[in-house]
């Protein structure tokens, strides 16, 4: 099937198999390997991207379902070697270890802060429910998001 989508501001048009997930399309066709696959069943959140501005799990969306949509992936969060304030906050607060869950965490964090610029610790933890991290124990991810909120609101 033919799809046309905009990813990180660039237009793409491809003829793809209907069963290809958005995550596979991003990774295999567009070589955007920052979107990770940890489970394939909406369980872990590693594949979180933004579809028309809202976070979504790219492993359980078919690429054909997002035909015509605007997608943002971790690669589109900041330009060049610069970092988005959320990425900076993760670095400053040691919000990542192996880095595998990290793109999904950053994309989810952006979504949390977009909907609630001043979240409480509880609201952040609740917002992270769909994202697993096996390394950090979440402690520093929560701190990173709190810190990012301060930065963005400053």
């Amino acid at each position: 099937m033919q799809i046309s989508i905009k990813v990180n501001g660039k237009e793409y048009s491809h003829d793809i198999e209907p069963r290809i997930s958005l995550a596979q399309y991003l990774r295999e066709t567009l070589n955007l390997t920052g979107t990770h696959i940890g489970c394939d069943t909406s369980g872990c959140g590693s594949c979180t991207v933004h579809v028309d501005g809202a976070s979504a799990k790219a492993c359980t969306l078919l690429a054909v379902q997002v035909d015509g949509c605007e997608i943002k992936t971790i690669e589109g969060m900041a330009h060049g070697s610069g970092m988005h304030p959320i990425q900076e906050a993760f670095k400053e607060n040691h919000g990542l270890q192996c880095g595998f869950c990290t793109p999904g965490m950053v994309m989810t964090a952006a979504d949390i802060l977009k909907n609630n610029p001043n979240p409480t610790e509880e609201e952040i933890r609740h917002g992270l429910e769909g994202n697993f991290c096996r390394c950090t124990g979440y402690h520093n991810i929560v701190k990173s998001i709190q810190h990012a909120a301060e930065k963005i609101n400053a």
Partner: protein, 786 residues
């Protein structure tokens, strides 16, 4: 001059990870690469009657299909540790084939590999492979596996034991002491099976280059050199110098990526057969079915006390599952990494542990974060807390009474245990005292009593652990059955411009070696951190290595690097003395330069480096270059320790346990980067609490896995936890140059018993004395009803 040791230096690896630019194995694409899918057994135990690949062969895009009848890897994947029966019989070591041929021994065992142009084609064709099985009865419980008449995993032996083993004092002596003890505490429980669940699934690409006659294996492993060794010397019998193993970024390991897996060997073999690269990446269900699991001990234990509450004897019998085949380190886990920690932090004079290790119709059990030590700590710390309740002594007081007194391991000797080890240095009183202070223990007890009056169930649980890290002196592990040495390699290459490349055999899969190793190298050389690069994870770049597990990277790998740094400085001093026309003894090295003492005559590290590579004006008899490699074999394990304290609230209606506070005071020796140490503790704690409250791999009676996805296996989530309160005491390791002990596993070791102790404490007034982990609402609710 800026220094780095002991500071929370931000991680350099984060720059690529945060931008989505990490290079994990599945991110790699090679020219002409094929994809693969496995046909896996839907039975835990079965005869393979036939495998028909004809329909699959003709499917679109299929390149090749191999089954157990093909001549792949004649020798199977080997086990790296030999633990013999206590009567002298050799460990029973079944062949672990790359593909099953006649018989299936666990759910998910691979029967065939299908290689195709695309992943979808490989998966589609795998569906067309028609395997006929005759299902057989299975046994998944290690205790039941030893009952007469239990289904056998390997027919060639009379029962399912892989080995049995004991350690400690004479059993009869321990039994006699228990008989005459004032009080005996007893427990029977299961330290249940858990799945490591690194979020990155295992992933491999094998690439045979016909012109160079060389293989490259890209693999998500924790120890590339060991994989190469096992692959070449055992599984495939191919020349080691023709194989390059690369593991760039690895998305967490926790033990599960230490081992050499069948898929690695099979892909390597098949890539030569088809002459093209092959990729395989596990999906999550395959990960549950085929990654080595952790724990799975069935325990019966007795601990005797005198009338003052001093422990007089401890006797334990365990059944510890090995799974269907012996994974790389599996036999060491319930034995040398477990029994040797039965002294804990206590002066127990008599200890005996007996372990029976049966094969079961399950995937292998091997090291999982802490490996054997969490199981030992769980046992000791539950027993002590249970005994305290029974004897009506405060659990902190009972611990204080039994602690080994502080010793620094330098002016005071190390502590010789009853179970083979000599602890390096310790101050167990110190961590418990600090942990109780952090919690406000006395105030908490008042709050608890008050809450109870209002029908609120609050509990506090203590745990004081010790672990053996920095694995390990080669001679010691060799005498204990290891088939490898456990030294580490550190190579320091000073470039002509004074920039430094460090090659380490340790491997980072989240621990932050690129930052921490650069911190101490920069400090020792007195140069900026930006001038130091750390290289790991490529056998063509790093001379050799034993990889990362057992919190060994800094204690062993770091020490190897320090040795090479010292050699650099030693040779540098010769060059500096020549250039400065001074005697070597008159030089001192600080802030990146050699200075003639008492003068302002000096030469910088950079100038000496350049001289070493442009040796026009050069000391006689000294070789050019500034490049040293060292092997460091530690003289002892390191012994971090600490206190973990959990506060829980139990919902009296539903039995749901909420973790209200978690306090961790750890002593990991000297700290290179406190930010990273805290991060290691946080992550470990959450894994340990995960086991206590949520996680369990469940096989049913037929060996089917009930928990094979994230819908069924309860992973810890952000909203299951409060912020974790951490602090440290510092008791340096006396026997390595950095004085470090290791921090990777501590969190997972101390936390599990602290949480279960807290739950039992919350319910103690209802007569509850023990609850089986994971302490689910159902189990708690049932315990409350009884």
């Amino acid at each position: 001059m800026e220094t780095y040791i002991g500071k929370p230096v931000k991680r350099r690896e984060d720059n690529r990870f945060l931008k989505g630019a990490g290079k994990y194995t599945d991110d790699i694409k090679l020219h002409g690469m094929t994809h693969s899918a496995f046909v896996r057994s839907p039975y835990a135990h079965a005869k393979i009657l036939s495998v028909d690949t004809s329909a699959a062969q003709n499917a679109e895009g299929v390149v090749a299909i191999y089954t157990g009848s093909d001549d792949c890897g004649t020798f199977g994947v080997p086990c790296g540790w030999q633990v013999d029966f206590k009567d002298g019989e050799t460990m029973r070591e079944p062949m672990h084939p790359l593909l099953a041929k006649d018989k299936i021994n666990h759910l998910g065992e691979a029967v065939a590999i299908v290689i195709a142009e695309t992943l979808e084609q490989a998966r589609d064709a795998a569906e067309l492979v028609n395997v006929k099985y005759e299902a057989l009865p299975a046994v998944t419980c290690p205790k039941k596996a030893m009952e007469p008449g239990a289904p056998k995993v390997h027919d060639q032996w009379e029962d399912n034991a892989a080995f049995d083993w004991c350690i400690g004092n004479d059993r009869a002596e321990v039994e006699a002491a228990l008989t005459s003890a004032h009080h005996v505490t007893e427990m029977t429980y299961k330290n249940h099976r858990v799945a490591p669940n690194a979020i990155e699934p295992r992933s491999y690409i094998a690439d045979y280059d016909v012109n160079a006659d060389k293989w490259t294996l890209y693999t998500s492993t924790q120890n590339p050199h060991l994989v190469r060794l096992l692959l070449c010397a055992f599984a495939l019998g191919i020349p080691e110098h023709k194989v390059r193993v690369v593991s760039y970024d690895v998305g967490g390991g926790f033990g599960s990526k230490i081992y050499h897996y069948t898929e690695e060997a099979l892909l390597t073999w098949a890539s030569k057969e088809i002459g093209r690269p092959i990729k395989w990446t596990s999906d999550r269900t395959e990960a549950f079915l085929t990654d080595a699991h952790g724990r799975d001990h069935i325990v019966h234990s007795k601990m005797g006390f005198d009338k003052d509450g001093k422990i007089v004897a401890h006797l334990t019998d365990e059944y510890c599952a090995m799974g269907a085949y012996l994974s790389t380190f599996a036999p060491a886990v319930p034995t040398y990494l477990h029994g040797t920690l039965f002294q804990g932090v206590y002066t127990t004079p008599l200890i005996h542990l007996n372990v029976v290790a049966p094969f079961t119709h399950t995937v292998a059990v091997d090291a999982y974060r802490g490996a054997g030590r969490p199981e030992a700590t769980y046992l000791l710390e539950r027993m002590i807390s249970k005994a305290a309740k029974e004897m009506e002594i405060d659990p902190a007081e009972l611990r204080y009474k039994n602690f080994i007194p502080p010793f620094n391991g330098t002016s005071e000797p190390g502590y010789q245990t009853q179970v083979a080890l000599q602890y390096d240095s310790g101050n167990y009183h110190g961590v418990l005292k600090r942990g109780l202070e952090m919690l406000g223990y006395e105030d908490f007890r008042k709050e608890q009593a008050e809450a109870r009056k209002n029908g609120k169930l609050l509990g506090v649980g203590l745990s004081t652990y010790i672990e053996g890290c920095g694995i390990a002196p080669s001679a010691v592990v060799g005498s204990l059955g290891a088939r490898a040495g456990l030294y580490e390699v550190g190579h320091v290459r000073v470039q002509p411009t004074g920039k430094v490349s460090v090659f380490t055999g340790a491997h980072s899969h989240g621990q932050g070696h690129e930052t921490v190793f650069a911190q101490f190298v920069a400090d020792k050389l007195g140069i900026p951190m930006d001038d130091v690069d750390i290289v790991h994870g490529d056998t063509d770049q790093v001379a050799f290595g034993m990889g990362t597990y057992g919190s060994r990277s800094l204690a062993v790998g770091g020490s190897a690097i320090i040795k090479s740094v010292e050699k650099v400085l030693e040779k540098g001093a010769k060059i500096a003395a020549h250039k400065l026309e001074a005697a070597e003894e008159d030089l001192e090295y600080a802030e990146g330069k050699w200075t003639v003492k008492g003068t302002d005559k000096s030469i910088s590290f950079g100038d000496v480096s350049l001289t070493a590579y442009v040796p026009h004006d050069y000391p006689e008899g000294v070789e050019p270059g500034l490049d040293f490699s060292s092997f460091y074999d530690p003289t002892n394990f390191t012994y971090p320790f600490g206190t973990h304290i959990a506060v829980v609230e139990v919902d009296s209606d539903t039995g749901k346990v909420t973790l209200k506070r978690f306090v961790a005071c750890d002593d990991v020796g000297n700290v290179m980067n406190p930010m990273i140490v805290d991060g290691q503790i946080h992550g470990g704690v959450v894994q340990g609490v995960g086991q206590a409250l949520l996680e369990e791999v469940v096989y049913d009676g037929e060996g089917q896995m009930v928990t094979g996805s994230y819908m069924d296996y309860a992973m810890p989530r952000a909203d299951d936890f409060p912020m974790i309160e951490t602090d440290r005491t510092t008791t340096p390791c006396p026997h390595n140059p950095l004085g470090v002990k290791g921090a990777g596993e501590a969190g997972a070791i101390g936390s599990t018993p602290a949480v279960v102790n807290a739950v039992v404490d919350a319910l103690a007034h209802l007569g509850v004395t023990d609850i089986q982990m994971p302490v689910t609402p159902m189990r708690v609710w049932k315990a409350m009803q009884n």
